[in-house]
């Protein structure tokens, strides 16, 4: 029983982070039709913003809020500087540009800050375990699950109810037609990037609170996981990103449980293999926007 609860919590924990990241990718994909490879670097930017603010003596939680806004701002800047001039080019061009941004940011982090990992002091409240009978649950994991679910619910309300949310979904559904209705292309795209940056910042907070350090490639691994989750989910709508994120979290947690210790190193390889098999059978992901079957 204890083991099962532990297992469930690790699924929700991993799934929450992947889902937040995958959502960020999908929100931008909906507007511009490409996966922003520099999404993970927004996490790293959050990490450094947090590191510096704590260094300057700001209280942790204030620094967190500012760093999340900073990540959102950086995403908006990224769009302004790099993607807007390429508006109307093929999604492939945008994808390759995002590789370039990511590569450039890595170099900047390494040269301007440090190639090595920097510790971030995590407050007492987030470290250690809660014990319930025989059960030890990491506080950071509980925190992750609560924060992620709250943000997912808020995001859902925003997208479903607010005028801006409806405009975002409309223009993700048909960009040109939405424009003819007066939905400003520049505004919704900026909004999508801001949201994706905020989501990356939230994910980074959760990621870092379990690891206590930031380094130039911090965002790389989670971003690749998020790409997988987004692709599994189908890229076409936020629900897919959620399913994809939790499915991937479930898969990883399960592999961790069932694989013998000497095979655990192959976990990611097995996940990727399963992804390939999955895509052969469902090339459009779990939730396909294309009502016609592909074959």
């Amino acid at each position: 029983m204890e083991e099962f609860i532990q297992y469930l919590i690790s699924i929700l924990n991993l799934g929450s982070i992947y889902a937040l990241l995958a959502l960020g990718l999908v929100v931008v994909f909906g507007q511009l039709g490409f996966l922003n490879f520099a999404h993970g670097d927004l996490m790293t930017l959050f990490g450094y913003a947090l590191l510096f603010q704590i260094g300057w003596g700001l209280p942790f939680w204030i620094a967190v809020v500012i760093a999340i806004m900073f990540a959102g701002g950086c995403a908006v800047m990224m769009e302004r500087v790099a993607f807007r001039p390429l508006r109307g080019r093929s999604p492939m061009t945008l994808l390759i540009t995002s590789f370039a941004i990511s590569g450039a940011l890595h170099v900047v982090f390494q040269v301007a800050i440090s190639p090595r990992s920097k510790p971030i002091p995590i407050p007492e409240f987030l470290s250690g375990y809660i014990t319930m009978g025989d059960l030890f649950i990491s506080r950071a994991q509980i925190f992750t699950i609560i924060v992620a679910f709250t943000s997912l619910i808020l995001l859902r309300i925003f997208l479903a109810r607010s005028r801006l949310g409806i405009c975002l979904r409309a223009s993700a559904s048909d960009f040109d037609v939405a424009r003819t209705m007066g939905i400003q292309a520049n505004r919704v795209i900026a909004m999508a990037f801001f949201l994706s940056g905020v989501l990356a910042g939230m994910a980074a907070l959760l990621w870092i609170s379990q690891r206590g350090a930031v380094h130039p490639a911090l965002g790389l691994t989670p971003m690749i996981k998020a790409l997988i989750a987004a692709i599994i989910g189908g890229l076409s709508n936020p629900k897919g990103a959620l399913y994809g994120g939790f499915l991937l979290g479930g898969l990883e947690a399960t592999l961790l449980q069932i694989l013998p210790d000497n095979l655990v190193v192959f976990r990611d390889a097995i996940v990727l293999l399963l992804l390939i098999v999955f895509l052969v059978y469902r090339p459009n992901g779990i939730i396909s926007s294309n009502p016609e079957p592909m074959r």
């Binding site: 409806i166 003819t180 009502p291």
Partner: protein, 235 residues
């Protein structure tokens, strides 16, 4: 209301619209008819700013459309129902209407949604359903209602009868006729030539990127060459 003079549009090396001119006066229902690939959709997309024109001018109430961004047309009273309906499939019927009325105040938008549901009762029944789950005819009604949300003074409709059952086609044409009665200026592109000539004031016939004929709709319906090339098959 609308005045188009000698516009040219090309897709790369392919010239799709080769210097056409037409106008639509206030309160008129004007139709552009023609076979597949004549360049009708291209002309409308050019009017909406969705494809660039290489030369010529387009005026909306005397204002140069080339200087107005795509998003600015609706605030000047010009609204659009595109070819193939293109409703927002993953959004509910209600949210489609809200998107259509996104430039209105919340109060005004709710009022318009109410009006649209009165006018299209089937949309009320389906208001919380995703638009993608509607039938073709229902999607077309939604596309028209969505275009009317902003209370436009001029509506552009691209093949609203495309792919619909004959009974629904008649309904769509009735809606367009009623709309015109309310004083809205309408530019209608159609392949159902008989029915569109029957409700229109004036018509332009397009062939291979050019306007080959124009005039009073009743007279064109009687015109021998039109009868021979478009109406003979009994469409």
């Amino acid at each position: 209301m609308l005045k188009v003079s000698d516009i040219h549009v090309s897709y790369g090396p392919v010239a799709a619209v080769k210097g056409i001119s037409f106008d639509v006066k206030k309160g008129e229902l004007v139709t552009i008819i023609g076979a597949n690939g004549a360049g009708k959709t291209t002309t409308l997309n050019a009017l909406m700013g969705l494809v660039p024109v290489s030369s010529g001018s387009m005026l909306l109430k005397g204002e140069d459309l080339s200087k107005i961004p795509v998003e600015g047309r609706i605030t000047r009273g010009l609204s659009f129902s595109p070819e193939g309906r293109r409703v927002f499939k993953s959004l509910s019927v209600l949210d489609n209407l809200r998107a259509g009325g996104n430039i209105l105040s919340k109060l005004k938008a709710d009022e318009r949604i109410h009006d649209m549901m009165e006018q299209f009762p089937l949309l009320r029944e389906r208001s919380h359903q995703d638009a993608g789950t509607l039938s073709g005819g229902e999607q077309q009604m939604l596309a028209i209602a969505r275009a009317l949300m902003s209370q436009p003074s001029c509506v552009i409709l691209d093949e609203p009868s495309l792919g619909l059952a004959p009974k629904i086609v008649s309904q769509v044409f009735e809606i367009i006729r009623d709309l015109r009665e309310t004083g809205v200026t309408i530019l209608l592109v159609e392949q159902n030539i008989k029915k569109s000539l029957a409700i229109a004031d004036r018509a332009y016939v397009m062939e291979l990127g050019k306007i080959v004929k124009s005039g009073n709709a009743k007279e064109l319906a009687e015109d021998q060459s039109i009868q021979d090339s478009y109406l003979a098959a009994g469409s």
